[in-house]
């Protein structure tokens, strides 16, 4: 009992800085032990049993990952995608390398080439002959998406990109243009 400070009747003359109105006396629970303690412990145990049983009634909240996936927000920055025009099927990328310049991780490599008028690859004068993103370096900051003047590159929603080889993580233009097979579920509005 000595250890417990009684703030109401204490002599504060030795500690004038503590006697201000800012000092709040702490509300403590009853002393443990004794018949009252046993009664409280019993009651609290019953409360604990109720809490755990309520979890059974509630059901599991686990997401069974390989079968179920956590839905992502629309703004989630996952694996990149390159885009084509819907009507003509031409690539939007014109090989300007602005994305590579913006990339803080220096993981994008673009080699541009002149379009052949007979067999156009992109809508502009030039197209990206080589477009590679090294995903083992990418930090998914989305600066490439912001830098692109033609919305040719956007961040997709895929997050399953692990592989056995580092070299397999260098995604080429064909891989980035292709639609991903597994679609990641999107979170609905307000979820």
């Amino acid at each position: 009992m000595e250890a417990r400070a009684n703030t109401e009747n204490a002599d504060w003359s030795a500690f004038p800085y503590l006697a201000s109105a800012d000092v709040i006396s702490v509300q403590r629970g009853p002393e443990p032990g004794g018949p009252g303690g046993a009664y409280r412990a019993f009651g609290e145990t019953l409360r604990g049993l109720k809490t755990t049983f309520a979890r059974i009634v509630e059901g599991p909240v686990t997401i069974q990952y390989p079968e179920e996936k956590t839905p992502v927000y629309p703004r989630f920055r996952g694996r990149h995608k390159l885009h084509r025009f819907d009507d003509t099927g031409l690539e939007k990328c014109v090989g300007c390398s602005l994305c590579a310049a913006a990339c803080p991780a220096d993981c994008i490599r673009v080699v541009a080439a002149e379009n052949d008028p007979a067999d156009r690859k992109s809508a502009g004068e030039r197209y990206a002959e080589v477009y590679e993103i090294n995903l083992s370096r990418c930090i998914f900051c989305g600066y490439c998406e912001v830098a692109c003047p033609f919305d040719a590159i956007t961040m997709g929603h895929d997050y399953e990109m692990s592989d056995y080889n580092r070299s397999d993580l260098i995604f080429t233009k064909e891989m980035l243009l292709a639609e991903p097979i597994d679609k990641t579920p999107l979170r609905r509005e307000g979820e």
Partner: protein, 333 residues
């Protein structure tokens, strides 16, 4: 016909005993591995998750996978261990637990066959005898491991045994006085009108608390307190030797629930025709096992001094008082 173990209330042919022991062994050793799965599933549900559900439908083959893993492991003996005693520890533990199963009554005598292993007249003393031998297994196993954690765990289990076995015995003494018999079938028959949980509620509570300690279950799992002692007496064990200890823990839980059902919850008494008797015992027993698991999911482990003061200062006086009051009432009424 002379029968071992003193004077037996009801003697059967030897082949009946052999068949019965095989049946009891088969049934219990199907139920006990399933209990490990049920416990893991239930613990999962108590924590808002699924528990094992990958091996087979609903994870039903998980115990089989666990057993296969444990059996295929190497039998490793630590350098400091005393090999013979080290191997003996788990054997004693499982032997005593299985032996004690023999007296659990699942039903009365029907068509000349009792629904229990044996009905010894010393009844519950048999259970206590083997319960005490089980602790020798823990002690020997823990000491022979040659590891400080095992040693500490073994010491703790010895202290726990002394603290709780006494109150456990006293808690059952009240029932024995009311029933006027030590035989387990006799005790169940005496509960024809009212289950002893009603007049012996104090005894029931003390028995259950002591039972938790006896089965090394939370909140009294100090011998294997995984946070402080790694795994207590079983720290150095691996493979099926470890598996034996783990299996025994569930067997012990099953056994104590069975004794509680027999002594306090009316054994095979229940509504319905006579052939439902074993079902009633199992239902009550599994309800108690569920309670064991529920407590494990809820209550944290006690400190060592709390365990001791609870055992000596609360449980023992309560049990003694219960015995005294029962004794007076039994003589007066």
């Amino acid at each position: 016909m002379t029968v071992p173990l003193a004077d037996v209330g009801f003697a059967e042919a030897t082949w009946v005993l052999i068949v019965k022991s095989i049946v009891i062994f088969a049934v219990i050793f199907t139920i006990v591995p399933l209990l490990t799965l049920v416990e893991r599933k239930l613990l999962g549900r108590f924590q808002a998750r699924y528990g094992p559900n990958r091996v087979g439908p609903f994870g039903l083959l998980q115990p089989l996978a666990d057993a296969l893993k444990l059996i295929s492991k190497e039998y490793y003996t630590p350098q400091n261990a005393v090999p013979v005693l080290w191997a003996l520890g788990p054997m004693i533990v499982i032997f005593s637990a299985v032996a004690a199963l023999a007296i659990l009554p699942f039903g009365n005598v029907k068509d000349g066959v009792g629904f229990y292993g044996i009905d010894v007249s010393i009844g519950i003393l048999y259970f206590f005898a083997f319960g005490s031998i089980a602790f020798y297994g823990l002690l020997i196993g823990g000491w022979a491991s040659g590891s400080k954690y095992s040693f500490l765990g073994a010491m703790r289990s010895a202290a726990q045994l002394i603290s709780y076995e006494v109150s456990m015995g006293l808690a059952l003494l009240g029932v024995i006085m009311m029933a006027g018999t030590l035989s387990l079938t006799g005790v169940v028959e005496a509960q024809d009108e009212v289950w002893y949980v009603v007049p012996q509620i104090v005894g029931f509570v003390v028995f259950m608390v002591a039972g938790f300690a006896e089965a090394n279950r939370t909140p009294f799992d100090l011998p294997e307190a995984d946070a402080e002692l790694v795994a207590g007496y079983q720290t150095e064990y691996g493979g099926m030797r470890y598996g034996t200890f783990a299996l025994t823990e569930y067997l012990e839980m099953f056994l104590i629930s069975g004794i509680a059902v027999t002594f306090f919850l009316g054994g095979w008494h229940g509504p319905g025709p006579g052939w439902l008797d074993p079902i009633w015992v199992l239902v009550k027993l599994l309800a108690l096992v569920f309670f064991f698991m529920w407590i494990r999911a809820t209550v944290p482990r006690l400190r060592y001094d709390q365990l001791m003061s609870l055992g000596w200062k609360v449980m023992l006086p309560l049990a003694t008082l219960n015995v005294l009051v029962t004794a007076v009432l039994v003589t007066v009424l």
